[in-house]
């Protein structure tokens, strides 16, 4: 078990990198997922079709395949995803700005994939709002956007937040894949490095990275439980 102490800096570095990509992908997926959710419930049929197509593609494709597309198809198309080198943001999240684009590719894949699930979690919340609420808003003359903003969304987030949390927890665990697509130094790739290249025993290393993931997921899960309990009380 000495590896946990001797190589603490490696674990800490892996934790930091995984945390970075998860924070960025969570923000990206929440924004993109919200946009797709609005498309899916839009009164305009072509927009609805676009939203539905997006969810169908990204919810049903394995994340590995999405990662492959991001890591191999984007360079083939001549893109290094440089649009993600956002000034200011790349100071905090240094990997965004490096010349090796794999962190950005992985971020794109994780965001696209997770956004489909975020969309469905948001939509399940929207569907939990009684249809009479939206109907009353329409009968007053509120437009689709006003209806969402003032009537439907304020009531839907309560029902969305628990499934949304599950989606984000799943995303954190899914991020373990990025090491296979060129990203060096995240939690799971560090484990690979320590065991295969440096010859440490697998089990202590696996325990180490598990602790890293649990530090991110367990508090998130506990927070969700709290929110859920408070809602159950409020619903009475």
């Amino acid at each position: 078990m000495n590896v946990l102490i001797d190589k603490f800096d490696v674990f800490a570095g892996g934790f930091w990198l995984t945390l970075q990509i998860c924070v960025l992908a969570a923000i990206g997926a929440l924004i993109l997922g919200a946009v797709v959710a609005v498309l899916r419930i839009s009164p305009v049929p072509p927009l609805r079709a676009v939203g539905t197509a997006y969810v169908t593609v990204f919810r049903n494709m394995p994340l590995t395949v999405v990662m492959f597309f991001a890591a191999f198809a984007l360079p083939a198309l001549g893109s290094n995803a440089d649009f993600l080198r956002i000034p200011g943001l790349e100071v905090v999240f240094t990997r965004l700005g490096t010349d090796l684009p794999y962190f950005r590719f992985a971020l794109i894949a994780l965001t696209l994939y997770t956004a489909a699930f975020v969309c469905e979690a948001l939509r399940s919340g929207i569907n939990a709002v009684p249809p009479g609420q939206a109907e009353a808003a329409r009968s007053l003359g509120l437009t689709f956007g006003q209806n969402l903003r003032y009537v439907v969304l304020p009531q839907s987030w309560k029902a969305s937040i628990v499934p949304l949390g599950s989606v984000i927890i799943a995303m954190i665990k899914n991020s373990a894949l990025i090491g296979f697509f060129g990203v060096v130094g995240d939690l799971s790739q560090s484990a690979d490095q320590l065991t295969s290249a440096e010859g440490y025993a697998f089990i202590p290393v696996a325990i180490g990275i598990s602790i890293g993931y649990l530090i991110m997921t367990v508090p998130l899960g506990a927070l969700l439980d709290r929110i859920e309990r408070r809602q159950a009380v409020a619903a009475r």
Partner: protein
């Protein structure tokens, strides 16, 4: 009739799948007129009422409101809906907003009126329907009758040209029906144009200018209330009245 008609339905047809819920319906409602629509369950009364502000789109025929045909979904339709108040069977008050906020939302967001002006008008309306002292409560804290009166105030806050009532008392406990009907009766007296789908025959008798009887998606007969209740012409209406008036 035509130049003073506010709501005109011509040859309106509507299907729910194979079910022909509105069959060649023609109806004209004059400004200031109170039309009560009665008939057995499933006769298409509610659908008719909801078609007037296009909460239910129709399959063929035309509906004109204030001289203009109903626009397709979009801003023009939203504007039209803001001129037609609607009161639902299940109240549909915004659950996350207080009574006062429920009444103020439309004028502030749709008409972009000043909050202070709207607040005064909203309080006056709540006063009028007798629940000004509940202005800061949430819908779940009110009784059904109170909620429905708030819903009427909410519709009135938009200063609509007409009000549609879709079975406004059907979800209420019997002792609360009266308080809602009182508000509706006083609106009718003041000359509000109203289309009321209801099972309250008492209201139809004393507040309606005209009673419309529907059965199986068809508008079977229409007459002044005294005439309709005393001498229904169609067998369908006779049958309906004999069932509800014998108890």
């Amino acid at each position: 009739m035509t130049d003073e008609a506010l709501i005109v339905l011509e040859n309106v047809n509507k299907w729910f799948g194979p079910l022909h819920v509105l069959q060649d319906v023609d109806l004209s409602v004059a400004r200031g007129e109170v039309v009560v629509v009665i008939g057995p369950s499933g006769s298409g009364k509610s659908t008719l009422c909801r078609a007037i502000n296009r909460l239910e789109p129709i399959d063929s025929g035309t509906i004109t409101f204030d001289g203009r045909p109903l626009p397709a979904e979009g801003r023009a339709l939203a504007r039209l809906r803001s001129e037609v108040g609607m009161v639902f069977q299940s109240f549909n008050l915004f659950a996350h907003k207080t009574t006062l906020q429920n009444v103020m939302l439309g004028p502030v967001k749709v008409r972009r009126e000043q909050t202070a002006v709207v607040r005064d008008r909203a309080m006056a309306l709540l006063e009028r329907v007798g629940i000004a002292n509940q202005a800061e409560k949430y819908p779940a804290q009110l009784s059904g009758g109170q909620q429905q009166r708030v819903a009427i105030a909410r519709a009135l806050a938009m200063q609509p040209k007409a009000l549609l009532f879709d079975e406004p008392t059907s979800a209420l406990d019997p002792e609360m029906v009266g308080e809602v009907l009182d508000v509706m009766t006083s609106l009718a007296r003041e000359g509000m144009t109203m289309v009321v789908v209801t099972h309250e025959m008492g209201f139809a008798r004393h507040a309606a200018d005209r009673v419309v009887f529907m059965a199986d998606g068809q508008l079977v007969e229409q007459a002044a209330p005294e005439e309709f209740f005393a001498n229904p012409r169609s067998d369908r209406a006779k049958d309906f009245l004999s069932k509800i008036l014998t108890h």
